[in-house]
Symmetry: C2
Subunit: 347 residues, 2 copies
């Protein structure tokens, strides 16, 4: 005698199974799951019990297909290899999660072409919205996103033309403020270690910030000695050495971020230079790394966590059909120990 009871053992239960078990229609089950207030308390309980009992969980592909939404947000960051973006993205993810969304992260290796590819991949995979870093990119991309109706938030910068939604900070002003402090310390020959300014708007803005300060102080902005390289401790080290091998040595080296600055610091120590006695060095970002290293780093503090959180909120707002506001977060200067008065000439 075979038992012919409807047993779905071993099979993943579906909405229909729940409906059958609860003695209601699939529509009602769906409502219990998505809009519980459109359903009687009683049926809600019956259905939820069935859900628990069967261990049901919805199939997101089917839901996405039927509803036209995936509840997935994409983020494309230049790199996951160092901590520059980690804290902000972590906060972004936490906030999304609170809103029932999942984060999909991809990285572009700081390459515009790869970023475009990733944007397409993520949208095609159904990302409901996107977080991008910086504002500089092919305008077609913005069209593509607009046409597909994908809310997008630009971060780690604030968009100068205010065209797009952004949650970031003003790299130029932030670096300018730091540069003013450097100048106030009497430095007149300034070096700068930066990421590629052609491809990286944050890097470019930061360099511009230094020039702004120089100009305002009556110096010739074109005297700024810029050394471009990639973001890594090793590269920062090398760039610093290259700067120091010039006939006219800068007395202050302003770095595009903390990773570079730590590299510079390491090189300076290796060269037996006293910091900040012989040379002043500054960073940008204030990642944890900044507080380590031979000498605690003077840098610009960026409210990464808050930025991630606000970016997530902006996106949730946009997904709900409202128009979120861009926000520009304030940065502050962390005075620590790598910036000091310029050494006396010829000393």
């Amino acid at each position: 005698m075979e038992d012919v009871s409807i047993s779905t053992t071993g099979e993943v239960p579906t909405l229909a199974d729940v409906a059958a078990a609860a003695g209601v229609s699939t529509a009602t089950v769906s409502r219990c799951l998505n809009t519980p207030d459109r359903v009687t308390k009683k049926t809600l309980k019956i259905v939820m019990d069935a859900v628990d009992q069967l261990g049901y969980s919805p199939n997101y592909s089917a839901r996405a297909l039927a509803a036209g939404r995936t509840n997935t947000i994409g983020a494309i960051i230049p790199t996951m290899e160092n901590a520059i973006f980690a804290r902000g993205i972590q906060a972004f993810q936490e906030e999304l999660q609170q809103n029932g969304c999942t984060l999909l992260v991809a990285s572009s290796s700081y390459r515009e072409d790869l970023e475009e590819e990733q944007i397409k991949t993520l949208t095609v995979r159904g990302a409901d919205a996107l977080l991008l870093i910086g504002y500089q990119r092919n305008p077609q991309i913005y069209n593509y996103l607009a046409k597909r109706n994908i809310p997008t938030v630009l971060t780690w910068a604030s968009n100068p033309d205010k065209q797009h939604l952004s949650v970031g900070f003003n790299n130029r002003l932030a670096m300018r403020a730091l540069a003013e402090l450097v100048l106030k310390n009497g430095h007149t020959v300034i070096g700068c270690i930066s990421a590629d300014t052609a491809a990286n708007d944050r890097a470019r803005d930061r360099v511009s910030g230094i020039r702004d300060a120089m100009k305002a102080a009556g110096l010739d902005p074109s005297d700024l000695i810029v050394q471009e390289t990639q973001y890594s401790i090793e590269k920062g080290d090398m760039a610093f050495r290259s700067l120091m091998s010039r006939t006219v040595r800068p007395t202050a080296v302003m770095c595009g971020n903390d990773v570079l600055a730590v590299g510079a610091l390491r090189a300076a120590t290796a060269l037996n230079m006293n910091i900040p006695g012989d040379i002043s060095i500054t960073g940008f970002d204030d990642i944890e790394l900044a507080s380590v290293a031979p000498v605690p780093l003077t840098t610009v503090h960026v409210p990464h966590r808050r930025m991630g959180q606000y970016a997530a909120r902006a996106l949730m707002t946009a997904i709900n059909g409202e128009r979120p506001e861009s926000v520009e977060l304030p940065t502050t200067i962390c005075r620590r120990n790598t910036l000091g008065p310029a050494p006396q000439a010829g000393a």
Copy 2:
């Protein structure tokens, strides 16, 4: 006079649109996209031209629903906030991408309950396979995964009982080798700064490794002074100070990872201790951070990138129905400058 030509302008084209444009059935278009060798060269061209012409790209939700696969792999890591996992995960992602898969990353904040939740979230969202860190977790989770037929690879450790697929390294042996080197330098009072050993199998194995070495050297393993804390530079700093405030001070402090070691190093410098003259300090992981800090860190090098890559390959193999082999990658000791001979007693 209205133009009544079939124009899908403004609409995202579907498979059916492509089929209509190419004058073939949807099945043929699907074949062109997924199994191009089951189709004539001629039709392939016609169809692909139509695809380009319409700017078609497949709807992944629909594809996933129909095919039962999402081509998405999930990874759950304890944290994204520091670089411990970054390099390995980056390599993992790159390898997946080469195989047409997307990576979904979630973090568990080192909490077992959150990890379980994330595992369920990711599988429910259709992850075809999973990467997890370490092997210690509720056995039910493994059942859940097995029942749902989700290939899973355990990383950053190698599973002692060989039950599960793993691509990692032997934390215990690696740390033991380093500890032997420390002992060979004459240290007899050894301190250890570790992550929570109850919840973190890697941390526990590393501590055990030290004890193994002590035992083998004829020391009492229970004499090891263990200070548990969280992974951060700040916490490492504090733990080191606490270790130094004991009446019997260790002459060597072995840290559970480089982040802690850098913190310890910072504290030691702040306490005006000479490294390695007064105190030896070791790390684990060999992340870029290790090469910064007052003194280049003696640590265990872990082949993170290779691990990520192999883990991805193992998962792809498993998805294709074959049975991949676990692999245990070798680690090496990076002798740098923070380990030296034990100071003379009373010196």
